[in-house]
Symmetry: none
Subunit: 196 residues, 4 copies
DNA sequence: CATGAATGAGCGTTCATTCAT
DNA sequence: GATGAATGAACGCTCATTCAT
């Protein structure tokens, strides 16, 4: 962001811009994300937009930053309710969390992760690592005894598999299907059991 | 495509264009896919390009159509070697096939499926159904007895999970990791066993 | 220039653009030199302009290149009429040449040399050296015998002095004043005589 | 200027602005002279700047006005030291003065005279006349007897010639070359002698 | 008076597409 | 059919200037 918004008026403006930009980005995709339209939707002038954001990409990155924070927060919350005693319960909770994340604004999520370029590769990978953390925990818990060398790979496999399934479901509007959720849980649990 | 190329000369031209376009699309991505560059790379005039393709998107869609056909064919081939007797072997073969598909030109594959817009949703779904066929077979074979109502969902879950894992691997250049392949196989087999 | 104009049509277009751009540049100055106005004045589309010139500066530089060539040519011509026997005649001719150069389009000349940035410093200096060549000749001829170490500096002084006077005259519309011309000639000759 | 600053506080503000603007103008040139940067450098708000100056050009003109006054003052000073008895001494002093003027801040001088537009032509000419005064004196002194009709023109020629040489020298960073200074003095003296 | 957030006309440039040759 | 010069709407972004606080 170009300048820190000090006054209250500025804070409002930045939020207005970000909200409008989020809407436009989700609706149109990165390729058709136009700064002038953002300003129009936000009801402000294009000049004001550029007072707070260095350029188009900077604006989108700020949106992504906030969105991914929210995603990780939501995932964390879904984990730390009452202590989950059974593996089934743990897995169900994780899946619920992931689904919840995609349910909020799947289009935005998709655009932010697949279309908006990552200027720094590291930036995207940092989120990925944090994101996979939950799966690593799951594997650590389910593995009866000693940590295995393949645990790291297993966490990545699990994360990618769940992501793949939830993304596909989101694309088809099946995010709320109980049947699908059950099958996905089976998949995860079966894998964890086999590894134990 | 704008017109069916009847004559041989035209056929050659269409192929030339498609090859050049494929190269450009894979290299530059959809956002930087420029018709003028395609014509230049193909060594023909931009006018000729528009003789055979209605617009930029039409050109990309033709590329996708051909690519997806090739993908399905490759997948089919990987299935019908010598009769696969064990479940492990079947699964390994399927995974090998999927990996092979992504290995050939992962950049192109990615662009075609994630960036180039689907004008008709149906268009993408048709391929998806066919693609899931292999997974349906797997479930049918592994299920000991009677077909279950959840088989259809299971196939979709399995397809999406494998896709997710392989895509993620491709993105990180780990497509050839034997360890990853093994874990992915475990995931699939564990799931199939649990369902049986 | 972006692409070499092969066809006759292109040649015409390039000339049309350059003529319009020259007019606009002379009239408005570099700061208000707008590519869209050039296109409008030329009666062509802005796209066509960018087909032949890489950017605004490239266009201006092409104009400068051609103008400076014309300047040097004019100066050369003014030198090589009948053999000038007397020093007075030589000096008069050189001054006439310089005045003629500025008389054609003094505004353009000014803009091109003082406003349009020189991307490469060398570029401007090359012209300057060639331009000073005439003065170096003059000094060589007028010096009776041995070349002096200060000849080079003297040429620069002479060139800059004549330039300064003619520029100032141009600015005040006195380029045709015979009186001024005579005084300038006296200045030059006096200096040459003193050095001899 | 928009309003005469009566109070002391205002005087300070105006000076602060002008100093900052001078620095920015010299550093960036007229084309990149931005009012917002001036305000920032001055440590005041852009609103305050517009309280005292009607617009960007007005600000630059005020700077020019003050600079040219300083130039004339410096030139006057250089003339009225101890009485200069010989012509050589007089000429040397004048040249020293002109060089000194350009040496102080040649970038600013250049920008102010060549880039910042003169809204009224008269504005520039007034300075020019005063500036030429010193040369008129020189001619008057050196001419043995009766004033000549061409004296006025000669003064202009001399002024423009010296200006041209010093400007060129400044552009090439040769303002301190003793050799150049000597040759310039020879030029001036030779001319004055011839006219006597 | 001072502030600085807000404005918006307008710039340079791109690139999908057309159509005269 | 083939060509490629020509088109022009549309984009991202700047910066002189205003005016509510």
């Amino acid at each position: 962001m170009r300048k820190a918004p000090r006054q209250q008026r500025s804070q409002v403006m930045v939020n207005t811009i970000l909200e409008a930009a989020t809407r436009v980005l989700a609706q149109r995709g990165w390729a058709n994300f136009k700064t002038n339209e953002v300003a129009e939707v936000a009801g402000i002038s294009i000049g004001s937009l550029y007072q707070y954001f260095p350029d188009k990409l900077g604006l989108a990155e700020e949106i992504r930053k906030r969105h991914l924070s929210a995603v990780l927060a939501a995932l964390s919350n879904s984990a730390h309710g009452e202590a989950a005693t059974t593996l089934e319960l743990r897995v169900t909770r994780l899946i619920d969390g992931v689904i919840a994340v995609h349910a909020v604004d799947q289009a935005l999520h998709r655009v932010l992760l697949k279309e908006v370029p990552f200027v720094t590769v590291a930036n995207g990978e940092e989120f990925e690592r944090e994101y996979q953390g939950r799966y690593r925990e799951l594997i650590a818990v389910s593995a009866g005894a000693i940590p295995n060398a393949s645990d790291e790979v297993a966490a990545r496999v699990l994360a990618a598999a769940v992501e793949g399934v939830v993304h596909a479901a989101a694309r088809h509007g099946e995010l709320k299907s109980a049947l699908l959720k059950r099958e996905l849980a089976h998949l995860v649990i079966a894998y964890l059991r086999v590894r134990a």
